[in-house]
Amino acid sequence: MPSTDKAIEELTGIQSVDIEAALDPAEPDGVYRDSRECAALALLSADTKLLLSPPTPRPKKG
């Protein structure tokens, strides 16, 4: 392990695995908008239909 890396680990407890985890994060769970945020978006995108259209309906199977 390079000396600088070792010094950092000793001083801060930060290990390579912490750094690699920060560099390669898993995708967080999605949290969807509430109506207040939708209203803010509508104000921002008055001239377009940006992001406001609902997902395209898909036929149900079975």
């Binding site: 801060t12 912490d18 945020e37 995108s45």
Partner: protein, 236 residues
Amino acid sequence: MEQSGTSALLQGAVQDLSSDVVSALRGGDHVRVAGTGAVDGLAGGLAVAAVRVLGADLLLPHILSRTPAAPEALTVFRQTVEAFPPRADAAPIVVWSHWAMSRTLRRLDAPQAGSPAGDEGAEPEAGWLDEATWPFLTHQLAVLAPLAVPGEDCAVARVARSRPVDLARGFVRAVRRRDWQQAAGAGRWLTLLDGVPDTLGLETGLDFVELMGGSDPRVALQVEAARAMRWTGAFV
């Protein structure tokens, strides 16, 4: 997801550094790189680890404005590149992040024999993106947003250029999921790409991302980077 104390500490330091970069992008000033004056103190050591996590974006203001970085910032950046080489079994994102730092160093630092700045640095492979679904592609590209730099080509940038519509879909998905960091990173890539659907409303979308997520300096950094690139009118 709950973070360990160490991870939270590191993320806080990354946010502090990101704030410095945002200030530099907005004001055209030097990146200050607060707390990295020495690596032999707790704050210094933590900040150097944060430099590795923030990666090439630390010196982005100087890349975009074509101005020299402060010698202290460049020294810390070089030390970080040398101190944190990717392991042989590191994930592609970790390898590419390190390669991006080396590339930035080559552009801003005078080459020195035996130093990362002097190495040509063989480009890593991007094969893990070949069959990537559009959500996965967007997530990976957003994490690798420091590679989205005008006038710089690499295998990851070529993948992005080949899939602008998929990336646009991923941008919308990220906004819907309130994943502001992913949305901002994807938006930065889209700013540089041809073939992005006009109906996406990218500029307005980035405004929205900033409105909702801009309190996180890492999000603000990507939005500011996208704006700076748009103003320069540069393309990958």
